[in-house]
C-alpha cells in the first residue's frame, strides 16, 4: 500500500533527530489530535478540545523547551544547524491533522528567535524566560505582536514603510519602557499568550529603522489586556484576538537586541515563518492525499473505482505532483534557513525574498489543486467528515500570515529586479 511516506524528501537534508521526532509526532497526532479534530471548528473560543493535546506536546513532552540552551533546561536547538529541517518534519506531521495547531506550535518559538539565535543570542533574556517554558509541564504559548488596526501588513513592509506607521509606542522612563498601543491578530493571543514580543516604535513617525523596537511583555503585567478569540473561516487552533497595552512597564533590557538590530533580525522571523507556511501546506496535503485515495477507491464511476477513470487519475496525478514539488521546495527552504555557511545569513533580504517567493507560490498551487480535488469529491467534498474542506479552509488563512501575497510579490520583485520605488 502506498502511503504518505512514499513522497520524496531530500534525504541529504534530514536532521539526525528526524526519525525520533517523526515517530513521536505521528503517534501524538494519531492518538491525541485526529480523533477530535472534526470538532475543533466549534472549539475556537474555548479550546477545550484543542488545549489538551497541546499540554501533552508542549508541556509534558517538553517541546516548548526546544529552543532554549541546554544549561537553562532547554534542548539547545537554537544553536543547531538542523533547527529548520527538524521543524519542517514536526510542522508537517502536525499539519497533517490540523494546520492551525501546526501554526500555533510554530509561533511558540517565533518571539524567542530574537534572543535564541546566533549571533544575537541574548543570554540575560533567555535566563529570564527559560523557567516560564522549561520548568513546567503546562503548555506555554508565545506570540509575536505586529499587526495594528491601520494598514495591516504595513508593519511587515519594513523596506518601504520603514516603521513610520507603527502606532504602538515604547517610551523610556528611567530603567523602564512604557508601552502603549493596540495589536490585532497575533497567533496565540485571544488569552493564550504568556509571553509576547511586541513590535513598537521608540519614535513615532520616524523613518529610522533604529527606532523600531521588539520588546517583550508578559501577559500578567499590569496594563496588558487580551480580547477574546475572533471567529474565522477556519483554523480554530490558531487563536487570534486584540491585545491592548496601556502604560505597560517593562525593564529596559526587555528589548530583544537593540536599536537597528531589532529591525535587521526581523528578517529571521520572516524567513523561517515563510518556510513554516510551506511545511504546513505540505503536511496538510499529505492528509488530503490520504483522504482522496480512500475516497476515490471507494466511490465508483462508470463501473469502476473512481481513481481508475483516466480523467480522474489525471487530476489525482496533479495533486501528487504538486505535493512532490511543494515538499522538495519546502525542504530546500528549510535547509537554506539552517545553513548560513552555504546560503548566507538568515536575515538577508535575498534569502527572505526567496522564502517569500516559494511560500506564495506554494500557496497558490495549494489553493488551485485542492480546490479542484475538493470539487472532484462531489457533494462529499464539502463534508466535514471528509476533512478536505477543513484543510482547504484552514490553509487559506495561512495565505495572509506575514503579509499578503501582494506584499510577498513586491518584496520578491524588489530583490530580483532591483526595483527602487515599489
Amino acid at each position: 500500500m502506498r502511503t504518505i511516506d512514499d513522497f520524496t524528501r531530500p534525504l541529504e537534508y534530514i536532521s539526525p533527530m528526524d526519525g525520533l521526532l517523526g515517530s513521536i509526532f505521528r503517534e501524538w497526532v494519531e492518538k491525541d489530535v485526529m480523533p477530535y479534530r472534526r470538532r475543533f471548528d466549534e472549539d475556537y473560543m474555548d479550546h477545550s478540545l484543542i488545549h489538551p493535546p497541546f499540554k501533552k506536546l508542549l508541556g509534558e513532552y517538553g517541546l516548548q523547551r526546544m529552543i532554549f540552551p541546554e544549561d537553562l533546561g532547554g534542548w539547545g536547538m537554537g544553536r543547531s544547524n538542523f533547527l529548520c529541517v527538524a521543524a519542517y518534519r514536526m510542522f508537517e506531521e502536525i499539519a497533517r491533522a490540523d494546520s492551525g495547531m501546526a501554526m500555533a506550535f510554530g509561533v511558540v518559538y517565533w518571539p524567542l528567535l530574537f534572543i535564541a539565535l546566533e549571533p544575537h543570542e541574548n543570554r540575560r533574556l533567555l535566563e529570564e524566560f527559560a523557567p516560564m517554558f522549561c520548568a513546567t509541564d503546562e503548555a506555554v504559548f508565545g506570540a509575536l505582536c505586529m499587526t495594528e488596526p491601520q494598514g495591516g501588513s504595513d508593519i511587515e513592509n519594513v523596506e518601504i514603510v520603514k516603521g513610520n506607521t507603527i502606532q504602538t509606542t515604547a517610551v523610556r522612563d528611567g530603567d523602564e519602557w512604557v508601552i502603549n498601543g493596540h495589536k490585532l491578530w497575533p497567533t496565540n493571543t485571544g488569552g493564550l499568550a504568556r509571553l509576547m514580543a511586541v513590535v513598537c516604535t521608540t519614535n513615532p513617525g520616524s523613518n529610522d529603522p533604529r527606532d523600531i523596537a521588539v520588546i517583550y511583555v508578559k501577559d500578567d503585567m499590569p496594563g496588558v489586556t487580551q480580547g477574546p478569540a475572533y471567529e474565522k473561516a477556519g483554523m480554530a487552533a490558531d487563536r487570534n484576538g486584540d491585545v491592548w497595552y496601556e502604560n505597560v512597564r517593562v525593564p529596559l533590557w526587555y528589548r530583544a537586541i537593540g536599536p537597528g538590530d531589532d529591525a535587521k533580525y526581523f528578517g529571521e522571523v520572516m524567513a523561517t515563518g515563510n518556510m513554516g507556511i510551506i511545511a504546513w501546506i505540505s503536511g496538510t496535503m499529505m492528509n488530503i492525499y490520504e483522504r482522496l485515495l480512500d475516497y476515490t477507491s471507494r466511490k465508483r464511476y462508470r463501473g469502476k473505482p473512481l481513481k481508475e477513470d483516466d480523467g480522474v487519475a489525471g487530476l489525482l496525478a496533479d495533486f501528487a505532483a504538486n505535493i512532490e514539488a511543494i515538499r522538495i521546495v519546502g525542504y530546500q527552504c528549510a535547509r537554506m534557513c539552517d545553513r548560513h555557511d552555504l546560503y548566507g545569513p538568515l536575515w538577508d533580504p535575498g534569502l527572505v525574498a526567496k522564502m517569500r517567493a516559494q511560500r506564495y507560490l506554494c500557496m497558490d498551487r495549494f489553493m488551485d489543486v485542492t480546490g479542484k480535488v475538493m470539487n472532484l469529491m462531489d457533494a462529499w467534498g464539502a463534508d466535514r467528515d471528509w476533512d478536505v474542506e477543513k484543510h482547504w479552509r484552514d490553509v487559506k488563512m495561512l495565505q495572509m500570515v506575514e503579509g499578503s501575497k501582494q506584499l510577498c510579490q513586491i518584496e520578491v520583485a524588489r530583490w530580483f529586479y532591483e526595483c527602487e520605488t515599489l
Binding site: K232, K299, G303, G371, K372, L376, D383, Q399
Partner: protein, 411 residues
C-alpha cells in the same frame, strides 16, 4: 450606483415585472438578511428560515410558474428564465444558500409547469403543495452521483441512489444512505431520479417529505450553504402513486437540470456582485504602504481589483446568456435538448470556477478581513465552494461536454 447597474446585462430583454421583482427582492434581502447578518451570522431559525419563508411564500417565488387556477402566478413562458436569473442573483447577493434553495424550487416548477411541458394531471397534483397555505415548501433533488455500490445502474456514468419498482398501484422506492442535493433535514418535497427495475429508462419521481418509509439522518456539518441543512436519507419501501412519476427518460432530466443550472449560475453571480461591493468599499477606505495611500490606488492591488471586476462582468454576461438560451428555445434547441443541457452545465461550471477564483483572490486582497467572519466575505467563499461541490465533479462534467461536442458515446 450598485453592481446591479454597473455590470452589463441585457436589461432591455427583461420585462418590467422582472425588474420590479428584482428591485423588491433587493430591498427585501438587504433589510432581511444583509443588515442582520453581523448579529445573526448563519443562524437557521433566526435568520435563514424566516427569510426563506418571505422569499418563497410571501414574495411567492414558489408560486411563480403554476397556473393561476391553482393559486400560482402563471409566469410560465420560456422567458421566465430572465425572471429566474434576475431574482436569484439578487438573493444570491444576500445569501447563496437561500438562492440555492430557491433554484431547486424554480427548476422543478419550470420542468413541470412551463408551457411546453405542461401536463394537467401532473400540475394539478403538485401545484397545491406550492401554492396552498403560506409556508415555504423546500424542494430537494436526489440525483445520480458517485456511489459506493458495485453494479449500481448508471446515468451518464454516475450511479442512481434510488431504485424504483413500478406496479399497478404506483411506485416503490428503495435506497440507503442517499445524499440529496439540499436540505435533507427540512425538505418538503424530494424529486428523486430513480433507476427502474427491469427497465432501461430512468424515472423522476416526486416524494413528499412526510412519505412513510422516508427517514432522514442527522444534519451533518459542511463547508457552507447554511440555509441547506442537509442530511442523508434512507428510503425503505417508500410508496408513491403512479402520478408521482414526473417523467421518464433523458429529456425531462435535461429540462430540469438546465433550469437548475441557470439558478445556480445566477446565485453565483449574486455572490460575485456582493464580493465586488465588499471589495469596492475596502478599496476606497483601506490604507496601505503608509499614510495617505488608498488601497485602490496601488497599481498591484488595483490590477487585481480590476481583474475581479472583469470576472464579474464575464460571469454575469454568461448567466444571462444562459437565460437567453432558455428564453428562446427555437434558437438554441430548447430545454429538453442535450445541446442546451450541455451548454447549461458548461456555463454553470465556468461561473462556479470563476467565482471560486474571484472570491479566493478577493480574500487575498482583504487579508485577515477576508477570512474573519465579521467582514462577511468568507461566507460567500464557503458557499460558492459548497455549491460547486454539489454541482458535481468538474472532471466528470467534462465527459458530458465530450459526449455532446465529440459524440464520444462510449463514455
Amino acid at each position: 450606483m450598485n453592481g446591479l447597474d454597473l455590470f452589463p446585462f441585457p436589461k432591455h430583454r427583461l420585462q418590467k415585472t422582472d425588474l420590479d421583482l428584482a428591485a423588491s427582492l433587493q430591498g427585501l434581502v438587504e433589510k432581511q438578511v444583509m443588515d442582520r447578518r453581523l448579529e445573526l451570522k448563519e443562524d437557521y431559525e433566526g435568520l435563514l428560515k424566516p427569510s426563506l419563508g418571505k422569499l418563497m411564500a410571501e414574495i411567492g417565488l414558489q408560486k411563480m410558474f403554476w397556473p393561476e387556477k391553482y393559486g400560482g402566478d402563471e409566469h410560465n413562458q420560456p422567458a421566465a428564465s430572465y425572471t429566474v436569473a434576475a431574482a436569484l442573483e439578487q438573493i444570491g447577493r444576500a445569501d447563496v444558500g437561500l438562492a440555492f434553495l430557491a433554484a431547486h424550487s424554480l427548476a422543478l416548477q419550470a420542468a413541470l409547469a412551463l408551457e411546453d411541458n405542461y401536463r394537467e394531471e401532473q400540475v394539478a397534483a403538485v401545484a397545491p403543495l406550492f401554492c396552498e397555505g403560506n409556508r415555504p415548501l423546500i424542494v430537494s433533488f436526489v440525483l445520480p452521483t458517485l456511489v459506493e455500490e458495485e453494479g449500481a445502474p448508471e446515468w451518464r456514468g454516475k450511479g442512481f441512489q434510488v431504485k424504483a419498482k413500478g406496479g399497478a398501484g404506483g411506485w416503490t422506492l428503495n435506497g440507503k444512505g442517499v445524499r440529496p442535493t439540499c436540505s435533507g433535514v427540512d425538505a418538503g418535497l424530494f424529486g428523486v431520479a430513480c433507476a427502474v427495475e427491469g427497465e432501461d429508462e430512468p424515472a423522476f419521481i416526486l416524494v413528499p417529505g412526510d412519505a412513510p418509509g422516508l427517514n432522514r439522518g442527522a444534519e451533518f456539518k459542511k463547508t457552507g450553504l447554511a440555509a441547506s441543512r442537509n442530511a442523508d436519507l434512507d428510503l425503505a419501501g417508500v410508496q408513491v402513486p403512479a402520478a408521482g412519476c414526473a417523467w421518464r427518460g433523458d429529456a425531462g432530466f435535461f429540462k430540469l437540470l438546465s433550469w437548475y443550472y441557470l439558478g445556480l449560475t445566477a446565485a453565483g453571480v449574486g455572490a460575485l456582485l456582493a464580493t465586488y461591493e465588499i471589495l469596492r468599499e475596502w478599496g476606497d477606505n483601506r490604507v496601505i504602504k503608509g499614510r495617505g495611500h488608498i488601497f485602490k490606488d496601488n497599481p498591484l492591488t488595483a490590477a487585481l481589483m480590476g481583474e475581479i471586476a472583469k470576472e464579474v462582468v464575464v460571469d454575469r454576461l454568461l448567466a444571462y446568456d444562459l437565460a437567453g438560451m432558455l428564453a428562446e428555445p427555437d434558437a438554441y434547441g430548447g430545454d429538453g435538448s442535450q445541446a442546451l443541457f450541455t451548454s447549461a452545465l458548461m456555463l454553470a461550471h465556468q461561473v462556479m470556477a470563476s467565482a471560486e477564483y474571484t472570491i479566493n483572490r478577493t480574500m487575498e486582497l482583504m487579508a485577515s478581513a477576508g477570512y474573519a467572519k465579521e467582514w462577511q466575505l468568507e461566507r460567500y467563499w464557503r458557499d460558492i465552494k459548497t455549491m460547486q461541490c454539489y454541482l458535481g465533479a468538474y472532471e466528470l462534467a467534462k465527459h458530458d461536454f465530450a459526449r455532446w461536442y465529440y459524440r464520444t458515446n462510449t463514455l
